[in-house]
């Protein structure tokens, strides 16, 4: 699956890890969607029942029209939440660290870092949910320039940093030999 998402993969390059945002954050966004659905249903059942004039004629058609637009909004919202989750991806290969960011519908960014150019990797777990579900951020500092890689809200950031540092050592040993 990751090969399709990362078309720049070299023939000798192996994909080790593919990470997305932790599922708890996706669940939170879906819960917001569920809340909006419940609000819509409450309006749909209670507002026309309270106002008799909204039950027939032109007002009824307008209410129906508003509710259909609201349903379309809910469908678009759910779809875009899934698209953002699916397209935000971090890939660690035998040679590179690739960060594919879909920041918005019209903002797509791909950053690559060769593992040997890495200088420092830090993991950070913060917040109640982060501590409970063990997700957080990974910061990778690159040598030579000020830019650094951020993997936000990834599962088990400590283990991820360990894997990245192991890969860095492996690559360094290969270059020394």
């Amino acid at each position: 699956m990751a090969k399709e998402l990362f078309p720049g993969l070299r023939p000798e390059e192996k994909i080790y890890i593919v990470v997305r945002e932790h599922w708890v954050l996706l669940l939170l966004k879906v819960l917001v969607w569920v809340l909006l659905v419940v609000i819509g249903l409450l309006f749909w059942y209670y507002v026309p029942a309270q106002f008799v004039e909204l039950q027939s004629g032109t007002p009824a058609i307008i209410v129906s029209l508003i509710s259909q637009v609201y349903v379309l909004f809910l469908a678009v919202y759910l779809f875009l939440v899934f698209v953002m989750y699916y397209l935000n991806i971090h890939i660690i290969t035998s040679e590179r660290i690739v960060d594919i960011d879909q920041k918005g519908l019209f903002h797509h960014r791909i950053s690559e870092l060769h593992i040997e150019k890495m200088e420092d990797a830090t993991s950070e777990v913060k917040g109640v949910l982060g501590t409970l579900f063990n997700y957080g951020d990974v910061y990778i500092q690159t040598a030579g320039n000020t830019e650094h890689f951020d993997f936000e809200n990834v599962p088990d950031p400590g283990a991820l940093v360990k894997i990245i540092l192991d890969l860095y050592e492996q690559r360094s040993n290969v270059h020394k030999e």
Binding site: I61, I62, L72, V76, F79, L87, H108
Partner: protein
């Protein structure tokens, strides 16, 4: 031009503006999803399901708007 006519024009203008934006976002979202997500076992079924949902709701809303005229 009577009152019902004015209501129809105002409602349809607002409706077309809002649904137009939502419809553009939905179809552009599908395009982005398939373009960057590539054609995989996840992207194709999800895209088809959502396109069918979007078009169904849009068509239904248009029918409702028609009944207003």
């Amino acid at each position: 031009m009577n009152f019902d006519h004015i209501i129809y024009i105002v409602t349809s203008t607002i409706f077309l503006g809002v649904t137009g934006i939502l419809f553009f976002l939905s179809l552009f979202g599908v395009y982005i999803f398939v373009r960057y997500g590539r054609t995989t076992i996840i992207t194709i079924p999800v895209s088809i399901v959502f396109v069918v949902i979007f078009i169904t709701i849009f068509a239904s809303a248009f029918q409702t708007l028609n009944s207003l005229s």
